[in-house]
């Protein structure tokens, strides 16, 4: 009952944020115009709508909003699932190096662009960037997973340590690439490392949608296995769950979602860590609730953060990663303090 209420709350919150982010921006579009444009698009309204407004909403705001929702849901749900297999609420995709691998590949592509990609069109460059980020994420996930495999079973502690090593390695190479980059490339790198939904078009939305929707649909089916994981892998296997299979499934699906998100929006921190944490705090730790709810709250958070990023110091646009970190870090510290108090009393 409480969970039903929380779902309703998040869905209505999501609806509010969606309408607000469609109205707010460099051009203010009145709410009733937004509604009539949306109604027209699904065929329940035949009146006249302002064509400028229609253009802004269709070409700029709607794809960007959708991308924000997709990326937010992806980060939320993969954070929750990865925390589940690591049995550690502080784990997140960036912890086992998935994000670092993605960003390293992207930075390499940006820096080497001048020498390798001369003469190639911008569009191709953009896709190359997206694809390399995804490939980097997958490659790292594969390496971490194979390093951590001992006698056919992935050891969680080794997996975390491998993640740390990969993070350090990728960090060093990324630093080197930054050092080699020229002025223009440096701007692109910075923009990208801080995260932004600014590159959203319908094409990007359609490109990443399957990579995010598939994990969104499949990960919740693993809820039972992830719950059993909390008892420990040995105990979970006594309940008929195959720990290695579950770990592989989670790593592949989470990589798919995170890699795709990093590819189109850069690194957006804290969402994968914080969103599942908040969900557990308000609705309990059952993954049957945590997984879908994290996706929902992740979408809500990112749409909200992007709305703020566009409007806080308009017309200048803030990187969305800055917003999520600014909002996230204090909330996270607050949660830690509260948990500490709970332990003390």
């Amino acid at each position: 009952m409480k969970k039903f209420f929380l779902y309703c709350l998040m869905i209505s919150g999501l609806a509010i944020v969606i309408f607000f982010s469609l109205t707010w921006g460099a051009i203010k579009i009145p709410l009733h115009d937004v509604i009539s444009i949306l109604a027209k698009s699904i065929g329940c309204f035949n009146g006249v709508v302002d064509s400028t407004y229609e253009g802004v909403i269709y070409i700029i705001r709607f794809p960007r909003l959708l991308l924000g929702l997709l990326v937010g849901a992806a980060l939320g749900i993969s954070g929750a699932a990865i925390q589940g297999i690591f049995r550690n609420p502080l784990a997140e995709p960036s912890l086992i190096g998935i994000s670092a691998g993605a960003s390293l590949m992207a930075v390499i592509v940006i820096t080497l662009e001048a020498s390798i990609l001369v003469g190639l069109s911008d569009l191709f460059g953009y896709y190359l960037l997206a694809f390399s980020a995804f490939a980097g994420a997958g490659f790292v996930a594969f390496i971490v997973y194979s390093v951590a495999r001992i006698n056919g079973s992935a050891n969680v502690a080794t997996m975390l340590l491998a993640g740390i090593a990969i993070n350090a390695f990728a960090g060093a190479l990324t630093g080197l690439m930054t050092y080699l980059a020229n002025e223009q490339q440096l701007r692109t790198i910075t923009f990208w490392m801080l995260g932004s939904l600014g590159g959203a078009t319908w094409q990007t939305v359609w490109t990443v949608a399957p990579f995010i929707l598939v994990p969104l649909m499949l990960l919740p089916l693993l809820a039972k296995s992830l719950n059993a994981f909390a008892l420990g892998e040995a105990q979970a296997s006594m309940l008929g769950i195959q720990p290695n299979k579950v770990k592989l499934q989670v790593v592949v699906l989470a990589t798919m979602a995170v890699g795709a998100s990093v590819a189109v929006s850069g690194i957006i921190g804290f969402v994968g860590l914080l969103v599942p944490h908040i969900i557990r705090l308000i609705g309990g730790v059952d993954h049957k609730f945590v997984l879908p709810a994290s996706a929902l709250l992740g979408a809500l958070t990112l749409a909200l953060a992007d709305m703020l990023a566009r409007n806080l110091v308009a017309p200048i646009e803030l990187p969305i990663g800055v917003i999520t970190a600014l909002l996230g870090a204090p909330v996270f510290l607050y949660i830690l303090l509260k948990e500490k108090k709970k332990v003390l009393h």
Binding site: L231, A234, M238, L239
Partner: protein
């Protein structure tokens, strides 16, 4: 029926189990006794299928454990492990629901909910149902885990129940209760194997006692056969008296005054100057 045929279990050069064979039938409660490091937990883990024996085989109803899929096995045996590490604040009810995971896909059936309610009742944890596992005492956590393990095979007749030191964290009343529940299960046709350190609990409730020493089967027989002062001395290096309980004719083991001399340890202890207790004047 569970049959162990010449089980060996090695880690590197260390042989933890050597040539262990025995059989247990539905309706029996078998207690496994032995000193620390005798291989009791290893044996339980091999019987559960978690560890593969280096040689030999475990047959559950004449079929090799290796031939069962992990789903099939999870409906036929459950195991209470010695160490439970759960650091996420699931509620007691959610933990018991995990015990029923082998039996439903997405949504628990009515039979699952009944099993949970009854297991909670019998282990006396019903009043804790909504509490977070992490807020419970060690003994309460132990009882919750026991309830989870019981509800996994609640409605699966002739299943195998493995208990690795099930009473370690419990007070005397719950120790009795835990073993009595296991006994009641065995009498309904379950096969129960329990690792115990409490010799008298084993004597009182077990149909048979399997004694391990150094990874070998030392003795296998009824409590009266196994629990003699000579056998207990050979296993635990402890001198005991054994008397017969007139009510149920089971042996009761009474330790003699310990004969360890404190001065034996003196040469091993740190030498610090200590001039007796200071008394304020």
């Amino acid at each position: 029926m569970l049959t162990a045929i010449a089980i060996n279990y090695k880690i590197g050069k260390h042989c933890l189990l050597r040539d262990i064979s025995f059989q247990i039938r539905p309706g029996e409660l078998l207690a496994v006794l032995g000193a620390n490091g005798a291989g009791k937990s290893t044996l339980i883990n091999v019987l559960s299928g978690e560890k593969q024996p280096s040689s030999g085989a475990v047959l559950l109803f004449d079929r090799d454990l290796k031939k069962y899929t992990s789903q099939e096995l999870s409906k036929k045996r459950s195991i209470l492990q010695q160490h439970n590490s759960l650091h996420i604040s699931f509620s007691v009810k959610e933990i018991l629901l995990m015990g029923r995971y082998p039996h439903f896909r997405y949504r628990p059936n009515k039979s699952d909910l009944i099993a949970i309610a009854e297991a909670m009742e019998i282990c006396d944890v019903g009043h804790l149902a909504e509490r977070s596992y992490l807020s419970l005492s060690g003994g309460e956590q132990q009882r919750v885990q026991y309830a989870r393990v019981l509800c996994q095979i609640w409605d699966q007749p002739q299943s195998l129940l493995l208990l690795d030191e099930p009473v370690a964290a419990l007070d005397p009343q719950y120790q009795q209760q835990t073993i009595a529940i296991a006994k009641a299960f065995s009498q309904r046709g379950f096969m129960v194997i329990a690792v115990l350190h409490e010799i008298n609990l084993a004597s009182q409730y077990a149909d048979r006692i399997l004694m391990l020493k150094g990874g070998r089967k030392w003795l296998d027989g009824s409590p009266a056969e196994v629990l003699t002062p000579a056998h207990i001395y050979s296993i635990y290096n402890a001198e005991v008296d054994v008397i017969i309980n007139k009510q149920n004719l089971k042996p009761i083991v009474i330790p003699k005054q310990t004969n360890l001399d404190i001065s034996n340890f003196n040469s091993l202890l740190p030498s610090v100057a200590f001039s007796g207790v200071q008394v304020a004047t």
